[in-house]
């Protein structure tokens, strides 16, 4: 059994992850461990990530070993849907107290496991490690092992205490736990040439159910969905699937890749967001299954289904196109959702004027550029003032964003639609896209936005903060335009690395002075990207620009 730190190192070595593959040996060792800026607004921890990834397994008892903080704040906090058991929604925790912290919580954990088995008898129990028991040295692996032997029941340790890193790491550690303790431990009752795994899909708002009927119609069986609406036995026997589709690109890539390595299950990375993406994914599924021995006629049936579903969806969306004429969208969301939604929105006839790439990788960025063209306006860290300016200049009519940025949008008086995990509608598949378009239409035409944008009737022109901010911004811009020295100063003063507070000018100077060509070089010289590492992509871009600029000079 490998230690936690060894597992983490293994995750960081993930060759399937483009981000990791591009890193140096030393960087990889540091891994994705985001050392968040102390005092900054932080995202979720590794425990949260592990819980998110596994919680949608519906018939498992998810037992959180720790003080009330961890389960108290995460109990039933995601909109995953279950077609069967509701056990996953029951909040199980050891709720350890001061005495446990002093004398150790292992006994309480063991008793908790026993009580769950006596009262609920689930097919498996997942035991989540958290910071406090990890720090006092509770060995959940040993407790789980003892419980497994005593009760003859899978008791799976999920070793992902919050302090080891961010949410994304937790996703991967959850995947490791499945690989180590669950996948391949049971055999399916039967297999077919049409058995498919779907990895990294959580069935939020029941999204998977918008796609499943299509697969059912084609005779493709979802052998296991990891983990949305999943069942323990399905995951345990998922190693017999013929092919796999990986949905959320970064969260569980280690699961997909290692299943390919161990069991020879090929996978592809796909998306059911957007009409064309859905069609591409269905085709790819059919192609892979045929390659693994399914009859070739599957492709004909798949194409027929695609043609039918596309026609239906287009017809439904066509109604909205006139209403979306000239409407511009600003997309503020992280990672993979950016590019997959970009495609979908363009299908609906909306014009994208910007997207955030905060959590996106370089490939994500490239994909967005590919879809949106060169003038893609990617917003790295948009301030409310900038957002307001975009709106004011009629450069965006609506913002699509995650639950947390909605509030910024509201204060910036912009229509907003939630497309992250706290959304209440399912946007996957062909019907999902129609639903998304319907919701955008609603948001665009909701009268509250006119209300939001309209100043109170007693306000005098130019007196609200928006007008003052705009005036200030304009004055600043004018001052810069008039003064090239100041403009250059302002350009160079742009903060590239927020963690270590490094400005563009400092990086440029370091590159020129030391003739640097790598991110590592820049980091050694300036400390930039020495924190969370998120700005490495931007530093690469700076390097590229400077190299091409110097080539241009050399060519003259």
């Amino acid at each position: 059994m490998s230690s936690l730190s060894a597992t983490i190192q293994d995750v960081f070595n993930e060759p399937g992850c483009g981000k990791n593959a591009n890193k140096s040996e030393a960087e990889r060792k540091k891994g994705c461990t985001k050392q968040l800026q102390p005092g900054g607004a932080a995202g979720g921890c590794a425990f949260d990530g592990a819980k998110i990834a596994l919680q949608p397994l519906t018939d498992v008892a998810h037992l959180v070993h720790g003080p009330i903080a961890c389960e108290g704040n995460s109990w039933d906090n995601r909109g995953a849907k279950s077609s069967g058991s509701n056990l996953w929604r029951t909040g199980f925790t050891t709720d350890i107290n001061e005495t446990d912290v002093v004398f150790g919580g292992e006994k309480r954990l063991f008793k908790s496991i026993r009580e769950i088995i006596e009262k609920y008898d689930p097919p498996a129990i997942f035991v989540y490690q958290t910071c406090v028991p990890a720090m006092i040295g509770d060995d959940i692996d040993a407790v789980c092992k003892a419980a497994r032997e005593k009760f003859n029941k899978p008791v799976i340790p999920i070793n992902s205490p919050g302090f080891v890193g961010p949410k994304n790491l937790g996703n991967k550690l959850a995947g490791e736990a499945l690989l180590q303790h669950v996948i391949g431990t049971e055999e399916p009752e039967y297999t077919t040439p049409y058995d498919l795994n779907i990895i990294g899909e959580y069935n939020l708002s029941g999204e998977l159910w918008q796609v499943k009927p299509l697969l059912d119609e084609l005779g493709i069986r979802i052998m296991a969905c990891i983990s949305g609406d999943g069942k323990y036995k399905e995951v345990a026997s998922s190693h017999r699937a013929k092919a796999a589709m990986m949905v959320c690109s970064k969260a569980m890539i280690n699961v997909a890749r290692k299943m390919e390595e161990r069991y020879g299950i090929p996978f592809f990375e796909g998306s059911f967001y957007g009409i064309e993406d859905s069609s591409d994914s269905l085709r790819e599924i059919a192609r892979m299954l045929i390659e693994r021995g399914a009859p070739a006629e599957l492709m004909d049936r798949t194409e027929a289904l695609i043609a039918r579903e596309e026609a239906k969806a287009w017809a439904a969306i066509a109604k909205y196109k006139p209403r979306f004429q000239g409407k511009k969208v600003l997309l503020i969301t992280g990672g993979v959702k950016s590019w997959s939604v970009v495609a979908a929105l363009q299908e609906a006839g909306l014009e994208l004027v910007g997207t955030s790439v905060k959590k996106s990788t370089k490939e994500d960025k490239e994909r967005i550029k590919e879809l949106m063209g060169q003038d893609a306006h990617m917003i790295e860290d948009m301030t409310p003032r900038e957002m307001y300016k975009m709106l004011k200049d009629a450069r965006a009519d609506i913002m699509l964003s995650g639950g947390r940025s909605q509030f910024i949008a509201l204060k910036a008086s912009m229509p907003w639609l939630d497309i992250n995990q706290e959304r209440h509608h399912a946007y996957m598949g062909y019907v999902g896209m129609v639903k998304l378009v319907e919701e955008i239409d609603k948001a665009l035409y909701n009268p509250v936005w006119a209300q939001v944008r309209k100043p109170a009737p007693w306000e005098k022109a130019g007196e609200n903060w928006q007008s003052r901010a705009m005036a200030q911004a304009e004055a600043e811009a004018a001052a810069l335009a008039a003064d090239p020295v100041k403009a250059e100063e302002a350009r160079r003063a742009k903060k590239i690395c927020n963690c270590k507070s490094v400005e563009l000018g400092v990086i440029e100077d370091a590159i020129l002075a030391n003739n640097l060509s790598t991110v590592e070089g820049v980091r050694e010289a300036t400390n930039a990207s020495g924190g969370c590492g998120a700005c490495a992509v931007r530093i690469e871009e700076i390097l590229e620009q400077m190299v091409s600029a110097s080539h241009a000079i050399a060519a003259e």
Partner: protein, 519 residues
């Protein structure tokens, strides 16, 4: 028997017991000439069809389940809003018992009101003696500062002349000659409770301003900076008037609330019975003539009162039970314009908070279809707010709404794309509404307590806003006016929407995959 002295069951449980069930079944079978259940079912279903709706709307004479009350109820409501005033209804005592119970059941407060208790001989020979004795007894028993007289149908049908009767009563010594006895003729066969409110208030104002029925000199107006405020017949009078006072206070406006019944319908339980509490002082009522302007929150409650006030040289402004951002904006801007006082920061912030709340929740209300019924002004106020929220009003019905009202509603609907599929039904009743809800279903119904039958029969979730609300407590303590009031209405609507979602997703192992803790 399931009933025993040791453990007395009430009707919730008692009649569900097997003995009673058996007894009721036998009774039905043996004595009630029961119809074939299939036939009953067929007719029940038929009553949901467009064919039935057509017959229903062809009704010419019969009113079924009216959404209005009678004039004197409104008169009583207005009268208790004056300092130590007892409403005296000239006519049959049974009617008066109704007003008292109606108001008590809504406000959960005692409601004091007396009657001249006319009987058959009074109906034949006229009610003068009842008036003479009634005023004397009321004056001596309840020591009011003012007795505000209105009428029931009985007195109106025989044509009792209140002015003459009160004069005679004073001559006969029922009450002192200079004692204030304003009056209003309020026959129930004309208009509704909102008309009665209007008539009674007009009677009181006329009494003080125009020479107390010829017993005093008419008042001369010397304009000051005060503002008169009239709430109209309003089930939320307790919360609303307090909220309005707070707004006036924030703006630094000197005001007189006319018919301020916010205290008498919300007296504290502290060991003291207050037959009267709060109210517009008689002095203020008289001095209201000098005010700069009079604001009425409900146009259709002051159709006669406002012209009377305007005729005395004041500016008057009428609103339609304003609810929500734009409507409150209009109200405040009018106040600001008339008084020259700016909108204070506190109200600006409250506005921003209401807009914020609407924006946070708009997705859940957007496109939802609503049926509304109630008093004319309330219908207008609520419809305006729904349009502001992106909801789609679909049926708007007021039994006591007329043609002019319908046109005004139509104009409001025409002003928004969300009002395009809505129809206005003036003078219709709740049985019409039943057909509407069956043939053109909506997502939610807004109305008073009687809407619960429509909710049960048609399955349309009811949001209780209006008067009377008998089966829910204390909502009248919350304002629906001002930005804070808009927030309350928003929350009531949202609560019902979420309850409805929960109720349709709570079956274990069937629909509870959507039984979410986050909405």
């Amino acid at each position: 028997m399931p009933q025993s002295a040791e453990h007395v069951l009430d009707h919730f449980d008692l009649f569900r017991g097997p003995e009673y069930q058996q007894m009721l079944a036998n009774k039905k079978k043996m004595f009630e000439n029961p119809r074939d259940p299939a036939e009953v079912e067929r007719v029940r279903e038929w009553a949901k069809t467009p064919e039935y709706r057509e017959k229903n709307f062809a009704r010419e004479a019969l009113t079924v389940n009216p959404a209005k009350a009678c004039q004197p109820l409104g008169a009583v409501f207005a009268a208790v809003g004056f300092e130590q005033t007892i409403p005296f209804v000239h006519g049959s005592q049974g009617c008066v018992a109704y007003y008292r119970s109606h108001l008590s059941r809504h406000f959960k407060e005692p409601s004091s009101c007396v009657s001249s208790s006319m009987t058959e001989d009074a109906a034949v020979f006229g009610g003068l003696n009842n008036m003479i004795d009634g005023l004397a007894n009321t004056y001596n028993m309840y020591k009011p500062k003012m007795i505000a007289v209105s009428t029931t149908c009985m007195a109106e049908v025989i044509g009792d002349d209140l002015n003459a009767f009160i004069k005679t009563s004073k001559e006969k010594g029922s009450v002192p000659a200079e004692y204030d006895v304003p009056f209003a003729h309020t026959p129930a066969f004309v208009g509704s409770h909102v008309t009665g409110y209007d008539n009674a208030l007009k009677g009181i104002i006329e009494h003080f301003w125009d020479g107390k029925a010829g017993t005093a000199p008419k008042l001369e107006r010397t304009a000051n900076e005060k503002i008169n405020f009239i709430g109209g017949f309003d089930g939320y009078t307790v919360g609303n008037i307090r909220e309005v006072k707070r707004i006036f206070g924030l703006m630094g406006i000197d005001y007189t609330i006319l018919a301020d019944n916010s205290e008498v319908f919300d007296t504290p339980t502290d060991g003291e019975f207050r037959m009267y509490d709060g109210g517009t002082t008689l002095e203020d009522a008289a001095n209201a003539i000098h005010a700069k302007a009079t604001i009425s929150m409900q146009e259709y409650c002051t159709e006669k009162t406002l012209p009377l006030i305007a005729a005395h040289g004041q500016e008057v402004a009428a609103f339609n039970h304003p609810v929500g951002v734009s409507a409150t904006d209009k109200f405040l801007m009018t106040l600001s314009r008339i008084t020259g006082k700016p909108i204070p920061e506190e109200l600006a912030r409250e506005r921003g908070r209401l807009v914020d709340a609407v924006a946070d929740s708009s997705a859940h209300i957007h496109g939802k279809k609503f049926a509304i019924y109630g008093d004319p002004d309330l219908c207008l106020g609520l419809a305006g707010f729904l349009l502001e929220l992106g909801a789609e009003p679909t049926h708007i019905l007021a039994t006591n709404g007329g043609k002019a009202w319908a046109e005004k509603v139509q104009k409001l609907l025409d002003s928004s794309p969300f009002g395009q599929n809505c129809h206005v039904y003036p003078g219709k009743d709740l049985w019409h509404m039943r057909s509407l809800l069956f043939t053109e279903p909506v997502d939610f119904l807004i109305g008073n307590t009687y809407g619960k039958y429509l909710e049960r029969d048609t399955g349309t979730p009811l949001i209780r806003i209006g008067f009377p609300i008998f089966d829910r407590h204390h909502h009248h303590r919350y304002p629906v006016w001002g930005y804070q009031g808009g927030l309350n209405v928003l929350v009531w609507i949202l609560d019902r929407i979420f309850e409805s979602i929960d109720a349709t997703t709570n079956v274990p192992a069937k629909s509870d995959y959507s039984f979410d803790i986050i909405r």
